[in-house]
């Protein structure tokens, strides 16, 4: 990893501000928001070193961070592509063609669900219901919901993401103001 595992001062200050939203001594509550930031800042996944760093900010034991990070499906514990395509596969999306979307993407990107393209651009990740059942089928990439998908829409989406070439994170909506 080329980047040193350390937030800049502004982000660190934000973490400390967030930790104050909870009562005295209960700052561990900030672990999930901080892990979201860490995942966005350090390449889209949480390495043990990153998790140890989060533990040091929260002044808790590393294992407590591993326990939490490994429980929630939005945290990646392995390297992923710049754009993780979270495709919903649950009932409402399934009946409206989610399997077609997956097959199309697998063919287009030359990878299977769960894999990352060789260029490190895309990862296909199957997820469960994202609360977009009325606008199925859908996929999420970063903070964006892409709904009422058709194969044409999927093609365009891939081209747009590829052209932009940026890492997409759940926190893309300027988390410095959020959280």
């Amino acid at each position: 990893m080329s980047k040193e595992i350390k937030f800049n001062e502004e982000t660190l200050a934000l973490c400390h501000k967030m930790m104050k939203r909870y009562p005295e001594g209960k700052h561990k509550s900030a672990i999930i928001p901080i892990l979201h930031i860490a995942q966005a800042e350090f390449g889209g996944w949480l390495s043990p070193e990153v998790m140890d760093y989060v533990a040091s900010i929260l002044k808790i034991q590393s294992i407590e961070v591993y326990e939490v990070a490994s429980f929630y499906s939005m945290f990646n514990l392995q390297p992923v592509g710049k754009c993780v395509l979270d495709i919903c596969r649950t009932s409402s999306c399934w009946v409206r063609g989610a399997e077609d979307v997956v097959k199309h993407l697998e063919k287009k990107l030359g990878i299977k669900a769960g894999e990352t393209t060789k260029d490190g651009m895309f990862t296909i990740k199957m997820v469960e219901c994202l609360g977009s059942c009325g606008t199925a089928p859908m996929l999420q990439c970063g903070a964006s919901y892409h709904e009422n998908l058709t194969l044409d829409k999927v093609d365009k989406l891939i081209e747009d993401y590829r052209t932009a070439g940026k890492q997409r994170s759940y926190t893309d909506l300027d988390y410095k103001n959020t959280l």
Partner: protein, 439 residues
């Protein structure tokens, strides 16, 4: 047209801003409650309204509030459950995205009633952009003196925060949600104690669904008695229904509790009928956890009476021939749908979302998924149907939290009402056709 109390203004331009929201009567319940009512009086109105929890369990909200312990010198909390993850449910997302102030207003009024100085809105991590909308609304409310110290010049002070989750259905269970909010794994707690006695950080806590909290505003504005006049029997007021599946007009609808299911499915005001003029096959009426019912039983009860959109009518007939209103996640399946394959998507879901804490759910959900996978792949055994039945029966009621029941009921109901379809899969695997194309 039925009455709407929650999303009647959803098409008003910029209703997400405080200015427009207030121009349309927003924050009236805060004004009324904080300036003219005691907290006890607010609780009383909610009790009178007959409001029931809109997250799925349908427990009377006023009663839940009155259980809140109030030991002197101990903080109390209101936590909003915005973890909406029940498959088929997206109404909270719609409400928060379109009219975020409706939730913030409800948070303030409810916190006043409960004596909570701090509240948290726990929202599922995937709804990050919605969290941002709520944050903006909260900032506006602080700036306008609706949050913070001495709200509207009264003695009541309150802070409200948004907390994001990170992908776990189980965090919709209230004690798992509290664990997650405390920065831990989302493992449900063993009850008792209930959150009303020892909830967030060990303090008395009320956890309510987004829609429940938003419904407190019209209740205070119109009075509990007036609210209770809407609906039928113990199903009072309006309810947001998330409609999805094979219908012409999927989306979020606010209904007066009590309209016939048939009207909801076929009227142009709501779902607009089945897509491509196909026939209705089955409905999951209240989110993936509730029993699936075949067309004849969802439209009419086994007594031949029209089935209504109420807690009572939908559960008429118990689990033999009824279902539940649940979260209002209304998924419609047309005649081309394979119930077995659909059940597989549910079983996979519960397996994926089991927290792993207690043995029946941890082991049983995976086992059921494996058997269903074998069946849809054409390798099912004749004994698999009875085995599935027995496994779900041994999960149900024996787990720490309701996820076990939620995993069991879809399996039980699918076998109960569609056994022949399972047999067809097992006996004639060569005939399996269960692909569902984009429409």
């Amino acid at each position: 047209m039925g009455r709407k109390l929650l999303i009647h203004n959803d098409k008003v331009p910029n209703i997400h801003t405080l200015e427009v929201y207030r121009q349309n009567g927003g924050y009236a319940s805060v004004e009324k409650a904080l300036k003219t009512m005691t907290p006890e009086a607010v609780v009383e109105e909610v009790k009178k309204s007959g409001l029931r929890g809109r997250g799925g369990a349908g427990f009377p909200t006023g009663m839940k509030w009155s259980f809140l312990a109030k030991p002197p010198g101990v903080e109390r909390y209101l936590v909003c459950n915005a973890d909406e993850s029940e498959p088929g449910t997206f109404k909270d997302r719609y409400l928060m995205e379109k009219i975020p102030h409706a939730l913030i207003e409800g948070m303030i009024t409810s916190s006043y009633a409960l004596g909570a100085k701090t509240s948290y809105i726990y929202i599922r991590g995937e709804y990050f952009y919605v969290a941002r909308i709520l944050e903006t609304a909260i900032e506006e409310a602080y700036a306008a003196g609706l949050l913070g110290k001495n709200i509207l010049g009264t003695d009541f002070s309150h802070d409200c925060y948004v907390q994001v989750g990170a992908g776990a259905y189980i965090c919709g269970e209230e004690t798992a949600l509290l664990e997650s909010l405390e920065g831990k794994r989302g493992n449900p707690r063993i009850k008792p104690p209930f959150p009303a006695i020892a909830g967030l950080y060990g303090c008395p806590t009320v956890v309510n669904n987004v829609e429940t909290i938003a419904a407190v505003c019209p209740i205070i504005n119109m009075g509990g008695d007036e609210y209770a006049k809407i609906g039928i029997g113990r199903s009072t007021g309006t309810k947001l229904i998330s409609a999805s599946g094979h219908i012409n007009k999927p989306g979020t609808y606010e209904i007066e509790l009590g309209i016939p299911v048939e009207e909801f499915i076929y009227s142009d005001e709501y779902c607009g009928g089945i897509i491509n003029g196909r026939k209705l096959k089955a409905v999951v009426a209240g989110g993936s956890s509730v029993p699936v019912l075949p067309a004849e039983l969802i439209l009419k009860t086994d007594k031949g009476e029209p089935r209504l959109m109420t807690y009572e009518s939908l559960s008429e007939g118990g689990f033999i021939s009824g279902t539940m209103l649940g979260s209002g996640g209304f998924i419609v399946y047309d005649e081309t749908t394979s119930i077995v394959k659909n059940l597989y998507t549910f079983a996979r879901f519960y397996h994926h979302e089991s927290c792993g804490q207690c043995s029946p759910c941890r082991e049983g959900t995976g086992w059921m998924e494996k058997i269903l996978h074998r069946i849809i792949e054409g390798h099912g055994k004749p004994s698999d149907i009875d085995l599935l039945w027995d496994i779900q029966r041994k999960i149900e009621g024996n787990t720490i939290c309701p996820l076990g029941d939620a995993a069991a009921w879809p399996v039980a109901s699918a076998i109960r009402h569609f056994r022949k379809e399972f047999e067809a899969y097992i006996n004639h695997p060569e005939k399996i056709k269960d692909a569902m194309p984009i429409i």
